[in-house]
């Protein structure tokens, strides 16, 4: 893949002016509301997901404010539970998932030499469903009884007790799920049918591969989630009893269905980041990605295994010995392909010629902290240990190491890497490095102590805690505010870059970067690859 170069880049900008003038962007609001251009839609996805990151982040800071000291100081427990729930839902469905779709929209056509996504109008629709979902989430705080407070997992029967806020969540999840399914279909069709001549599957950049696999995961799991929340809806309002044991249902059934969605969902949120890191590390090591084929196979292996391990989230429900052993073994196996990826990245750096611009810093930071999250994942895969730490802060630490240090740092790496291509100027490197170090340090201050809290037995989703846990909670809260405000550095930096403040970026913005996206000018013109490039 790394040897891919454009054999022939058509002079797109020239034809453009006279032949295709009517294909330029519309003026004003129509450009965005009726957008069908993959770059515009990608931009909207990314802006939307950053806005949701801030909303979810504010909720997290409200949680951390209450948890600064034991006792109830600021929020009633029922409101606190709404914050935890909506923080999770907004971050997952509003921020991480749409952000990766935004990256896919921008970069997949550029990386495979396609002129646009396969279904441009569906692309528009799948974006504009997102704000509707976001509004439902946000408005639900103000309905009687407040927002969903049953946790982002919405376990029955607690979710059956909730007020109308729960119905808002269910409807929002349906809408956002539909959006994800449409996005996934679009990506699959684009990758499979719209590659430039000569761009075989095994020449694609890894980001396209990981997204292709992710898209299949999404197609398989979003309907399962839709089924789970629909059953909640009918149990709540239409007299069914899927999850009511007294009427012949089973509350554990909900958890099985939910986690059959929920575990692959974890990989939906991390595989595209693997793809980004696999582009960034070779670019700044100036050396081809080590083990390209094994990276593809490892990604596929992770995706397949992800369907076979869901009940490791349910060890504490008390399943039979053999099923517990099976889910434990299968979960431990996932660490093998994941390890292969980490080894490959390190081997890519080995004897490279490295420089450490912000994308590389975030990539190395990603590998470092994601691996910590991976190791704690292996530790909690061991069922007896999980029995001790399940539903404690250890789990919070584990999945934030995977989701924040994993998904979010991966996205930042990609954002800095491609910002010159998106905006046409080099971002402010000093601010970028400040953003990295500030995020990296404050992230660890926030989440590392949570391992200790969990091992000592502090349960999660608690509005109040015993005084012995005070110090680590105070440290975590201080770190959380630091981390939260660090993200504003990124916002400022992106605003600067998007207003073209900075050095103009050449087409090949990074010395060691490879791939078709670097063969088009920076910023990438509104239309690219109208005539497909030929890949040697």
């Amino acid at each position: 893949m790394s040897s891919v170069t454009a054999g022939h880049v058509p002079p797109t900008t020239h034809d453009h002016d006279h032949d295709h003038g009517h294909h330029g962007p519309e003026k004003g609001w129509r450009r965005w509301v009726f957008a069908t251009n993959h770059k515009d839609i990608g931009t909207m996805y990314l802006v939307f997901s950053f806005a949701m990151l801030l909303e979810g982040g504010v909720l997290a800071l409200l949680l951390r404010t209450e948890l600064f000291a034991p006792g109830l100081q600021f929020f009633r427990p029922e409101l606190f539970n709404q914050f935890t729930t909506m923080h999770g839902l907004i971050m997952i469905f509003g921020s991480i998932m749409p952000a990766f779709v935004g990256f896919a929209n921008w970069m997949i056509p550029l990386q495979i030499g396609a002129s646009d996504m396969a279904f441009a109008r569906m692309n528009n629709f799948s974006f504009w469903l997102l704000p509707i979902g976001a509004i439902l989430f946000t408005v639900s705080f103000f309905v009687p009884g407040g927002a969903n407070a049953a946790g982002w997992t919405m376990y029955a029967p607690l979710s059956l007790q909730m007020g109308p806020g729960m119905d808002f969540t269910i409807f929002a999840v349906h809408i956002l799920g539909a959006s994800s399914i449409m996005g996934a279909i679009n990506i699959i069709v684009t990758v499979l049918n719209m590659r430039a001549p000569g761009m075989t599957l095994f020449k694609m950049p890894l980001f396209c591969w990981t997204w292709l696999i992710t898209a299949y995961l999404l197609l398989a799991i979003m309907p399962v989630l839709a089924a789970a929340v629909t059953m909640l809806l009918t149990d709540r309002h239409f007299g069914t009893a899927f999850f009511n044991a007294a009427a012949g249902g089973d509350p554990v059934l909900y958890q099985h269905i939910f986690w059959f969605f929920g575990h692959p969902e974890v990989y939906v949120m991390i595989l595209p980041a693997f793809g980004i890191i696999s582009s960034v590390v070779p670019a700044f090591a100036r050396k081809p990605l080590f083990g390209y084929a094994s990276m593809v196979y490892a990604t596929a292996a992770i995706a397949i295994l992800s369907f076979l391990v869901w009940a490791h989230h349910m060890f504490a429900t008390g399943m039979g010995t053999t099923s517990q052993l099976y889910f434990m073994y299968a979960t431990m196996l996932i660490s093998i392909p994941t390890g292969v990826k980490v080894f490959n990245w390190v081997a890519t750096m080995w004897r490279g010629s490295m420089t450490f611009e912000t994308p590389m810093l975030f990539a190395i930071g990603f590998i470092f902290v994601f691996t910590i999250g991976g190791f704690t994942g292996l530790i909690v895969a061991v069922a007896p240990i999980d029995i001790q730490v399940h539903d404690t802060y250890y789990i919070i630490a584990h999945f934030h190491y995977v989701m924040v240090a994993g998904s979010l740092f991966g996205m930042y790496s990609g954002a800095y890497y491609w910002l010159p291509k998106w905006t046409g100027v080099m971002y402010d490197e000093k601010l970028g490095k400040l953003h990295f170090w500030s995020s990296m340090i404050s992230f660890n201050i926030t989440f590392f102590p949570m391992h200790f809290l969990g091992l000592a037995g502090m349960p999660r989703r608690y509005a109040d805690y015993s005084a012995q846990f005070t110090d680590f909670n105070m440290i975590a809260t201080i770190g959380a505010f630091w981390f939260g405000f660090s993200q504003l550095i990124f916002l400022w930096l992106v605003i600067k870059a998007s207003r073209k403040i900075g050095e103009p970026a050449p087409a090949q913005a990074w010395e060691g970067a490879t791939g078709l996206e670097w063969s088009v000018p920076s910023p990438a013109p509104f239309h690219t690859f109208e005539t497909p490039p030929v890949v040697k």
Binding site: P251, F452, P459
Partner: protein
């Protein structure tokens, strides 16, 4: 107004952090700034800790190895040091090695883990079985067998609101204390059968290595064998609504004899609560009940054979002044005690049924066979003299 509230909030934070500087380890609960799992008091919790150490060590070694290589590379293979990039991008041997070796390491981890799972899942041959029910937001306990069979009670958070809302300093057992404790014997296998009344809860006691969801309409079980007497604490571990953080678990592990004593007291207390003092009882009922009351309350002084330990504790056998006399004096004696002697008043300790039963018992035991006047005393007789 808002500003004042904010200032108050900040003051509360400072006040509270100052107050917690004094906090000590919680007996049977978390230590201050505890870093690792607890060793606990069961084989299971101890095995889990060993397992955790094993994994932690293996993971740390791999972590240091992998990131040692990475940071060496970051230091040495940088462009600013004139490093020139190599061209290699695959190596079949090394790729097979770093797939196969982790596989072997995982097998090495899985073997002790499997042993632990099998041990944790074995709930057979229990000595005591307790049914635990999760409620929003408290726990219910019911003993299904053993000396405490039939005993049942609820356990609620006993931390005062004043501590939660910051009007009183927090104690070392803040949020992990209950009005009633689950009581179990030491070194006995206790099987805990769990269900819930409303939503899913989870019964967690870290010192036992136990966490099991309690689900409405579903029965699940787990077990523990506490090897050391003491008080152990846990909390609800599954989000169950607004007071999720306020339904702790306190388990008191007692020596067998103390456990039996506790069971007898509970049984007694349950019967006490169920007694109807207006009913007229049969002689047999009174004798059976009286024997138990005598055994729980009177026996320490007056002895099982009724001979007492004169002169401090007089004999009841053949006593003409009270036992083999009209009932009035004996009832008043038991109700009010006798100042200046060891005989205490029992009017607040025993109810009318118990007093009547005990007195009737003394009039029939040890060969008295009801030979004195008023051989049968009914609760209503006691009520009349209170």
């Amino acid at each position: 107004m808002m500003k004042e509230k904010g200032v108050l909030g900040i003051c509360a934070l400072f006040f509270s952090s100052a107050a917690f500087a004094q906090v000590g380890d919680m007996p049977g609960g978390p230590r201050v700034n505890q870093l690792n799992l607890t060793r606990g008091v069961t084989q299971v919790s101890s095995d889990i800790m060993d397992l955790h150490w094993l994994l932690l060590v293996i993971c740390t070694v791999i972590f240091i190895g992998v990131f040692g290589v990475m940071f060496y590379s970051i230091l040495m293979h940088r462009k600013s040091k004139g490093a020139v990039a190599a061209k290699f991008h695959e190596h079949v041997g090394i790729e097979i090695a770093w797939t196969a070796i982790p596989f072997l390491i995982i097998i090495a981890m899985a073997i002790p883990a499997t042993r632990a799972v099998v041990a944790m899942k074995d709930t057979t041959s229990a000595d005591v079985t307790v049914m635990v029910t999760g409620y929003q937001w408290m726990w219910g306990y019911e003993y299904l067998d053993g000396p405490a069979q039939g005993v049942k009670f609820l356990a609620r958070l006993s931390t005062p609101r004043d501590q939660i809302e910051g009007r009183a300093p927090k104690t070392d057992t803040y949020l992990m204390e209950t009005d009633n404790h689950m009581v179990v014997p030491v070194d006995k296998k206790v099987r805990v059968v769990l269900t819930a009344n409303d939503v899913i809860h989870s019964w967690m006691v870290p010192d036992f290595g136990v966490k099991q969801d309690a689900m409405p309409g579903v029965l699940r079980d787990t077990w523990f064998r506490a090897e050391k007497a003491g008080i152990y604490r846990g909390q609800c571990a599954e989000l169950c609504g607004k007071d999720h953080a306020f339904m702790p678990i306190v388990v008191e592990v007692l020596e067998q004899a103390d456990y039996e004593q506790w069971a007898a007291e509970q049984q007694q207390a349950m019967q006490t609560a169920a007694d109807d003092p207006t009913k007229t009882y049969e002689l047999d009922e009174l004798l059976a009940r009286g024997e138990k009351v005598y055994a729980a309350t009177c026996i320490a002084c007056h002895q099982a054979n009724g001979q007492g330990m004169p002169p401090t504790f007089p004999a009841l056998v053949g006593d003409e002044a009270f036992v083999l006399a009209p009932m009035k004096n004996q009832i008043e004696l038991v109700l009010n005690g006798r100042p200046g002697t060891a005989m205490a008043p029992f009017r607040d300790v025993l109810n009318d049924v118990e007093i009547a039963a005990a007195i009737t018992y003394t009039r029939h035991a040890w060969g008295h066979n009801g030979k004195g006047p008023d051989p049968v005393v009914q609760p209503s007789d006691v009520t009349a003299l209170r």
